[in-house]
């Protein structure tokens, strides 16, 4: 074996192994990340969608309890409809896990508060995702690349935020990456291949049961498989040994096991299966259009800007990570082409350092496909854009893996530079390079908390730069949580608050968690609330104006800012102010 940047050169048949030490390291990353998420979660009030999934989880928990006590009654269509109808526009897997976690909380008080109980399963998938990315990296580009990839993914500001939530956006990234990994493992003619074929089908079912993003993954895998199979055929014709299966058993598993797992995971479709599946599909195929500000324009109807996912990625992912990934993509151009074309179009001498060639599984092509597909789907002018960057998060593990490759190239450059002039150059250079190259990710992520959906990086000019450019400042109304201390100070005797984009469920969770007194209540009537707040999103401007008219003043009581940029403005009803001042006089 020839060492290549500390990466074992692969032989023809063997693939780099992930040892038990690697899995231990992956587990450690997982545990540390979940611990950090748990420690920082209380800084984040629940987002809109989280509160809906809390309601769903509680409903499902009720059904599970019924199942435990009276199985026959629980399995009736009426009981299933009652228990599972809420939020049936999304499949059940993660909400069921939220429910189990909540049930454990009720029974054993595992978590310090209720919101953590609901959020914990999502956090675990975030931790598992790091483990998976690390192992994927180890098996493809080596240990250093895998470790850097996992760390850079963990430290993408918006990924860090979403990793806290009882939502599906990070879990689906975990399951999609896991399916991709199982598929990739299933391609080789190894003795474990049948395990990986079955695993591909099962994990695809879990992905289907998590979120509808899973619908599109088989398309990428099929394209990749055709590509790899053609390469395999060419290689065999040239006398190469058989390495990659030419029978797509994995697809058979996806088409059989996938739907079975999906069906089994979702009691809602156990009855009236076809109509309910049709309703589920229709919801997502004809999804409502929401508002999204982009370069000063409020988009609410197609066509949406094609550049959106690419610009938003450039503005929100640390630039160093992006440059490492783009550098690696450029550097590995030959690996994206069929061997004969690569030889003609990009002679090796253009690649000054080392031989880069596609492997028999065309892993680079797979990674590139998995990276581009989620972004291209959002780039379609007809695709609704409303979730900031989270809707193409599935691209980020592969972006991070390419960044890991870039990290290896950087460390190699430095090692060549320092030679043997320092002791243990490999270790020292890697450690220093990791420290320097991850510093922006760490700094930006730390600075983004708890305003990650308002956070923009260097290319946007930061938060103020993005505000000047007219980029979306937030969504989901969770930033209300940052005002809790202020409300407690202003309303020692309680009162009412009109919440703008914050749901009543999210507000209630602040009270359940003991962060907000029970006597500070949500109000449904803006004009008669003691306080009214506006989350600064462009299309919420009308709420500002409504409050000015209702309260007869445009002077805020306070403005919550992040890097000087207004995030939430709170107004006090003059009637309340008069009562408050009168009390003070008394």
């Amino acid at each position: 074996m020839t060492p290549t940047f500390g990466v074992p050169a692969v032989s023809v048949l063997a693939e780099p192994r992930a040892t038990w030490r690697d899995h231990l390291a992956g587990l450690l990353m997982c545990v540390v990340y979940v611990a950090v998420l748990l420690a920082t979660a209380n800084d984040l009030a629940m987002a809109r969608d989280e509160s809906f999934y809390v309601d769903a989880a509680q409903s499902y928990a009720g059904w599970f309890e019924q199942l435990g006590s009276d199985r026959a009654a629980a399995m009736t269509p009426e009981a299933i409809t009652r228990g599972w109808s809420y939020n049936h526009e999304h499949p059940a897997l993660m909400k069921a896990l939220f429910a189990f976690s909540w049930m454990a909380q009720q029974k054993w008080h595992v978590f310090p508060n209720d919101s953590l109980a609901f959020r914990f399963p999502g956090m675990v998938t975030a931790g598992l995702l790091l483990w998976l990315v690390y192992v994927f990296g180890v098996r493809t580009f080596g240990r250093a690349a895998g470790a850097f990839a996992a760390a850079s993914l963990a430290l993408m500001p918006r990924v860090f935020y979403h990793a806290h939530l009882d939502c599906f956006d990070v879990p689906i990234v975990f399951f999609l990456t896991l399916v991709t990994y199982c598929y990739w493992r299933s391609l080789t003619l190894s003795r474990f291949r049948w395990f990986w074929v079955l695993a591909t089908g099962v994990t695809y079912g879990l992905a289907l049961a998590t979120k509808h993003n899973a619908w599109l993954l088989p398309g990428v895998l099929v394209i990749h498989w055709v590509w790899a199979a053609l390469g395999e055929v060419r290689a065999r014709r040239r006398g190469g040994v058989r390495e990659v299966s030419l029978v797509p058993w994995w697809l058979l598993a996806i088409l059989t096991l996938g739907p079975l797992v999906f069906y089994a995971s979702w009691p809602w479709i156990w009855h009236e299966t076809l109509p309910r599946l049709r309703e589920y599909a229709a919801f997502h195929l004809h999804h409502d259009y929401y508002n999204m500000e982009y370069f000063g324009r409020n988009y609410f109807w197609p066509p949406f800007p094609v550049s959106y996912p690419f610009v938003m990625t450039a503005f929100t992912v640390p630039v160093t990570t992006l440059v490492l990934a783009l550098g690696a993509l450029l550097r590995r151009t030959r690996a994206f082409l069929p061997a004969s074309l690569a030889e003609r179009a990009l002679p090796q001498f253009l690649h000054a350092t080392g031989v880069i060639r596609a492997d028999r599984r065309a892993t680079d092509v797979l990674f590139l496909g998995a990276l581009l597909q989620p972004m291209l789907v959002i780039a379609l002018p007809s695709t609704p854009i409303f979730g900031g960057t989270k809707h193409w998060f599935a691209a980020y593990p592969f972006l991070a893996l390419f960044a890991g490759v870039g990290f290896v190239y950087v460390t190699r450059g430095f090692r060549q530079l320092v030679g043997q002039r320092i002791p243990s150059p490999r270790v020292v250079v890697r450690a220093l390079a990791a420290l320097v190259l991850l510093a922006p990710s760490l700094a930006e992520t730390a600075h983004s908390h708890p305003f990650a959906l308002s956070h923009y990086g260097m290319l946007a000019g930061g938060v103020p730069g993005a505000a000047t450019l007219g980029m979306n400042r937030q969504f989901w109304g969770f930033t209300t949580g940052s005002l809790v201390p202020w409300f407690k100070q202003q309303m020692p005797e309680g009162g009412t608050v009109w919440l703008c984009d914050t749901t009543w469920g999210a507000w209630r969770m602040l009270q359940r968690d003991g962060l907000l007194p029970e006597n500070i209540r949500a109000a449904g009537d803006l004009a008669h609330a003691d306080y009214a707040l506006v989350h600064h999103e462009k299309h919420f401007a009308e709420v500002d104006f409504q409050i000015w008219v209702a309260f007869g003043t445009s002077t805020p009581a306070t403005v919550l800012t992040y890097d000087g940029v207004p995030i939430v403005t709170v107004y006090e009803n003059p009637a309340h102010a008069r009562r408050r001042l009168a009390r003070r006089v008394r």
Binding site: F349, T353, V549, T561
Partner: protein, 339 residues
């Protein structure tokens, strides 16, 4: 070349170049050192975050600037801020001096001076295209002032709407719309213009048929301080101002609540401006027109006074949440600033 393995790799050694390709090879070999620039980029990125954070204007700077402007402000002064997203912070420190007419202005004609609290070197979008006449820094907040000259505005119809007579026309009848003080209603995204507590109520059976000064969200989602006057149908609601100083022209802006205009699917709205019962100007507002301007000449009667009426009609009044701002003007026109 054959594909070699089941996993990709990151190769270490460079192939030996051919002689003919050596110079290119050498240049490209040096290009590999570009990777060494990435750590430099990382350090720049960290430094840029530190710089961004350090450039944020502290609240004390805003307060200091506000104290200065408050002391300098004269009647007819406009107070604004730049960039536009700082507006809530401006209102936090100077809200008592920033009126709805200032925030929801259609242009700057009503004002004699413009004060701007500015950060990041920005200037208001409607500031004159020249250097300010005054500039002073208060930490990271700069106070800028432009002297705009005498205002051409003689009578602002929005400011005086409470003094107007409002009627709903039904055939030959004119049904008065009495001024009532009740309770504000509405609120929330998509709920549209807030119904103010005090308003002219034109038809209790049609709760949307009222007239009052409000702040409306126009098509560009900007604030417009204006008179809400929803057309009842082909017959108008009429707002009449008696004995108005006319000047040489009447300028009117009008638009519809953004959500009711942005799909471009609703019918036109007709506005008629009358002086002493004679039509001096009309405007047809169609969806997607946005905040639209019209000008009616009143020069035949310069220096005189008269009754000014604004009539709004729509054949199909569905979702015609129309709002207008108007004034009479005299003297030379100011250069129009960017909207």
């Amino acid at each position: 070349m054959t594909q070699a393995s089941t996993s990709p790799s990151v190769p270490a050694a460079a192939p030996r170049p051919d002689g003919a390709r050596q110079s290119l090879r050498a240049r490209l070999a040096s290009a590999r050192h570009l990777w060494l620039l990435v750590p430099l980029l990382a350090l720049i990125e960290v430094a840029s975050l530190a710089v961004r954070v350090s450039r944020v204007a502290p609240h004390s700077d805003w307060r200091a600037a506000a104290t200065f402007v408050r002391a300098q402000q004269r009647p007819g002064d406009l107070i604004t801020s730049a960039p536009a997203w700082t507006d809530p912070v401006l209102r936090l420190v100077l809200g008592d001096r920033v009126t709805l007419a200032q925030t929801g202005r259609s242009d700057t004609d009503a004002f004699t001076r413009m004060w701007a609290l500015s950060v990041r070197g920005e200037r208001p979008h409607d500031a004159p295209p020249r250097d300010p006449d005054f500039e002073q820094a208060f930490g990271r907040v700069r106070v800028l002032r432009w002297d705009l000259g005498a205002s051409p505005v003689r009578f602002d119809l929005v400011e005086h709407v409470r003094e107007a007579e409002v009627v709903r026309v039904e055939g030959d009848r004119e049904l008065p719309c009495p001024w009532r003080v009740g309770s504000a209603e509405g609120g929330g995204v998509g709920a549209g213009t807030e119904t103010p507590a005090a308003r002219f109520i034109c038809d209790p059976r049609r709760p949307w048929l009222w007239v009052a000064p409000v702040v409306n969200e126009d098509l560009s989602l900007e604030a417009r301080y204006c008179v809400y006057q929803h057309p009842p149908g082909a017959e108008p609601v009429r707002v009449t101002y008696h004995d108005v100083s006319l000047g040489t022209r009447l300028v009117l802006y009008g638009g519809v609540y953004a959500t009711h205009e942005r799909m471009g699917e609703n019918g036109p709205i007709d506005v008629a401006v009358k002086v002493d019962g004679i039509v001096v100007g009309t405007m047809t507002h169609r969806d997607l027109d946005g905040w639209k301007r019209m000008e009616a000449a009143t020069a035949e009667r310069p220096g005189t006074r008269g009754d000014v009426s604004i009539e709004v009609t729509a054949v199909n009044p569905n979702l015609r949440t129309f709002c207008w701002a108007a004034r009479t003007e005299d003297g030379p026109r100011r250069p129009r600033s960017a909207p």
